[in-house]
Amino acid sequence: MTGVFFILPALLVLFIVVFYPLAWTFWLSLQQKILIAPHRDQFLGLGHFQTIFSSGEIWDFLVITLIFTISSVLLKIIFGMIGALLLHQSYPGTKVYWSLFTIPWLIPSVVAALIWRWMLHEQFGIVNQVLISVGVLETPIPWLSRELLALVAVILVDAWVGLPFMIIVCLAGLKTIPEQWYEASRVDGANAFQQFVYITLPGMKAILLVMGTLSFIGTFNSFNIIYTMTGGGPVNATNTLVIHIYRTAFTEYNFGMASALAVVTFIFISFFVLYYRRLLDKEGEF
């Protein structure tokens, strides 16, 4: 019984910052609630959801979110693994590289996004400047103003920001694989590629699965980078669900609709969380 008192503070915090806002969002999603039109507040029931699914825009935003998330997570995992393998070697100077690699992670993501927005700017940007002066380009490219380029740009920057953490975790994973396995395989005549496929990858499987899923959820809800770089534009090319919710809530002040969109997103993301739980349960046997 005393145990209850010990967890009470934590429960209270959890209640205030998680359960209460969650419940309030569900409640708001059933209301007509536009902050600057309080005289029109009323109970709508499932009206917002009807609007959301009858207009069908949400599927476009879901597709953009999935393209953004999957590409960014794949990049993070592939390059995180490569970075970890490189840093796992004990050459002189790997510590220096290790520190350098963590820089993108240490910069606040809004600052990183602002820096990239600046570097990719058509007129002032150093990216165009460099590409033109080495002769790759003749005229500057407006990176963030063409639909496909803008999407690629925000994916790359998101991956750039998230990469260091992935490298650190993968590096920790590599260190858990016993050195003897590699030695034994070398004696049996395995080459580097075979060692990677038959020792490193299986050894890393648990970490890669868990990190992949966690990263997926984090990237799915990623806001700072896209909002700062493109604001969801041009013409919704980078308008992920989270950006769409933010714009509905804070530029249109339509809290009811934004809550309904948040509930729908919550349902989408719940599938991934459930999948993650199942993965964890399975890997627990490992």
């Binding site: 600057i36 309080p38 029109r40 700017h121 002032f124 407006p142 103003s145 041009p234 013409v235």
Partner: protein
């Protein structure tokens, strides 16, 4: 270097046609005529609005019950805006905010942009040697200027109405209004301050005071932020070319009319 004289003009553009011609003549060797704003935010609506009004159009009907920005005047105004973008603005303008277009101007990349009374201070700080002049919006159907109304709001449900009102009175009394206006580079709200010597003797400020006579501002209604966003989205669609100006505005108008309960 005087860009206007070099292009063979002795005065700032007075009409839309002149404006486009001058903007086009500035567009060469990495410089552009007009620092246009085209991102998907309210700043884009802000930049386009004077063209809509100047062409005789408006956002809503007088009783604010229906969207009319998709009228022929509105469509023509957006077509002109698109033409300015295609022929005299950097392609990256569709991701530019007001701050970007101002920086383009300050760095000498664009010859003209739209600014307000706060801007001379920026020039003083960032490009003190710049030789510049401020001219009214070029005229199409009628002279126009953009008036933005800021609101100080007290909630109906407030429990401290009296205190709030005391603050509003304090903040907007003649003395503080003048301080605020000078600090922000705004036109004072109080008529008594319009004759303040420091304001009328400042050449730029006197200009802004003068064009304020032609100023039109947005309609004030609770749905405005949503209308604003719908219009900004339509402008961006037209600029990028995924829709024609007419299609984009019609779709936005449909959205707005739904909002207004039609």
């Amino acid at each position: 270097m005087d860009w206007l004289e070099e292009a063979g003009y002795s005065a700032p553009p007075a009409t839309w046609d002149e404006f486009l011609a001058i903007a086009k003549s500035f567009t060469k060797d990495g410089t552009y005529g007009f620092g246009l704003v085209g991102d998907n935010s309210m700043e884009t609506t802000l930049f386009w609005a004077p063209f809509l009004w100047g062409n005789g159009g408006d956002f809503l009907t007088e009783d604010m019950s229906e969207a009319i920005f998709n009228s022929s005047e509105g469509v023509e105004a957006l077509e002109f805006y698109v033409q300015l973008y295609r022929e005299a603005s950097p392609e990256g303008s569709v991701n530019n905010k007001r701050g970007d277009s101002q920086n383009l101007f300050l760095s000498g990349s664009v010859g003209m942009t739209t600014v307000g009374p706060w801007f001379p201070k920026f020039i003083e700080n960032d490009a003190p040697d710049m030789d510049y002049a401020i001219a009214p919006y070029p005229v199409k159907e009628r002279p126009i200027s953009l008036g933005t109304a800021d609101h100080i709001v007290m909630f109906n449900s407030s429990e401290h109405k009296e205190e709030a009102w005391t603050f509003m009175e304090y903040f907007t009394n003649e003395e503080n209004d003048l301080k605020w206006a000078k600090y922000q580079g705004f036109i004072p709200y109080r008529q008594a301050n319009l004759t303040d010597s420091e304001i009328i003797n400042n050449e730029d400020m006197a200009f802004f005071l003068n064009v304020a006579e032609d100023a039109v501002s947005y309609p004030t209604l609770p749905e405005w932020p949503q209308i604003d966003q719908a219009v900004a989205d339509a402008i961006q669609q037209a600029l990028i070319g995924v829709k024609t100006p007419e299609e984009a505005l019609n779709e936005a108008a449909e959205k707005v009319n739904q909002l207004l309960g039609n």
